[in-house]
Amino acid sequence: MARHGLDAEAKKGLTLIAPPLLYALAVLAAPLLTILTYSFLKDGYLEVIAEFTWGNYAQVLTDPIVRTIMLRSLIVAAMVTLVTVLLAFPIAYYVSFMVRPERKSMWLFLITIPFWTSYLIRVFLWKVILGYNGVINSTLTGLGIIDEPLTFILYNVNSIVLTLAHAYAPFAILPIFVALEKIDRSLLEAGRDLGESRAMTFWRVTLPLAMPGVIAATLIVFIPTIGDYVTPELIGGGKIPMIANLIQVQMLALDNRPLGSALAVTAMLTVALVSVVFLFLNRRFLRMRQ
């Protein structure tokens, strides 16, 4: 009886998940499998030869250019993440602890304002601000503070980090804000009551309890930035490519789809590895809580 009931229930469940499952297979699994398949095939002239090879991966792992660009992507993503999270924390803290409860939603709303324009336009605007004849340089030369335009703010890693950190700021603020909101305020009073100053209470109570939010923010910023294509292209002037730019070059400009696919798969595995480390860290923090 029970078994029969379970079967009927299972059938019902399967029927329910069938449409989203099909959808997920079509738009997620199928493209991924295609890329994975391509990465093991040989590249011919204007065509892909259906022959198995490890060659693409060998090239990806040994080519110094690929290694440089992969490393640069990792470093840029790490820097962006660091800058974003460090800047986001005080904002999230301010909104959670200093802003009156009835004003909090307004503050969060204001934080999303940059999202009202497209990502592409925001990146382009940073180019206008940071450029050779851009807002910063023309202001500074106009005021006579500098004689020549500053060059370290455009077409290099600094400008990429700056642009991406701005673009992803809300993504970092929100998870940290949520983690801070969840902290029972009496815990902070307990910290003070047990003899700790405000600073030590922050260090021993607030920060450890906010860690799940910080780790979530880190992941949310790190994963998309490592594969960012637009910012290095526009802000970096195409001269300092990241992994996404390299994949694009292989896939389209050089028409080497197997190598491009192998690059993509490698990049994905790298991100996955980093993410797993962070998820593991988060699990540790979460286990200590409820």
Binding site: D184, S186, L187, E189, A190, G191, R192, D193, L194, G195, E196, S197, M200, R204, V205, P208, L209, F285, R287, M288, R289, Q290
Partner: protein
Amino acid sequence: MSDDHRPMIECQAVQKYYGDYHALRGIDLAIREGEFFSLLGPSGCGKTTLLRTIAGFEGISSGAVLIDGKHMEDVPANKRPTNMVFQSYAIFPHLTVAQNVAFGLRRDPRGKAEKTALVEDVLKMVGLSGYGGRAAHELSGGQRQRVALARALILKPKVLLLDEPLSALDRKMREQMQVELIKLQRQIGITFVLVTHDQEEALVMSDRIAVMFEGEIAQLDGPEALYARPANRRVADFIGVMNFLPARILAETDEGARVEVAGLGEVELPRAQISRANPEDEGVMVGFRPETMTLMGPGQIHYQTRETGATIDEVVYYGDMTYYDLRLDGSARLDGRPRTVRISMRNVFGRDVQDVGTRTQLAWSPGSLVLFR
């Protein structure tokens, strides 16, 4: 309680405003060293605010707060010789039980081994021996409360502040913790200040109780005095059940008053049974507790001096007790409105529960009456 009655906490004309809201309206209070003191009142009466001003979480608008003879107005919470058990317990969720208990020992100069032993000692004292390694979320409500207690007591505060510590526990657990807290307080001898809205809890646990209404202390007394001689009708109503009957003062001297009470007739009441004047009370009333009178029945023996005829209006059976609502003969005599009073009788062997509508006699003594005027 210490003999010299040295005040451990003194509040002098403490005023506290939140914007326009007047939360504390001139609190004058001296809590003795080693005393179990309770702040009792309905929610919003300012009892928690007063506790938090003692702990240092709230500043005061004017007045003075002294702990152990030292002014505390400019001393932050972390520098005060008080520790608190929070209503929510505020157990740090990211730390184990032992780490929670040792939280305040960071700057203690003692060695690690010594601190570990101390933590184990304190855990043993609160009945949590061997729980040191547990995570906070593995604990029940009662255990969390014990951790909160251990965490505060390990710092040897001069005053332990308890903010409704038992309100989250179920009845059995609460009664058990009440007894344990009393024992603990006697054992370590430090001053306990308890905030509660539960009058029974305050009566059970305290040496003295301050009853608060609307930011003011309405009465400060020991449990028995508070119960038997409430200062005004509001206190009488808040602590336990009290019956009120309209009364008329026939004559008043320095020794007492001769009063006519609706349904009870004329009585002489000595000064001790006359409460302070209270402008909020309308009219003169006489009050008495349900258990001070005896409902007559077959085989009922009593030592009361007076009897009054009554009719049983309602019977509420509680197992160990029965509550009777009685309509007293002649209770409408003073203002034309008949009154019912509530009498409680213990259901001892050989005494039957009486039925609704029964004509009966109520036996009573003038000694149990309190005049509110």
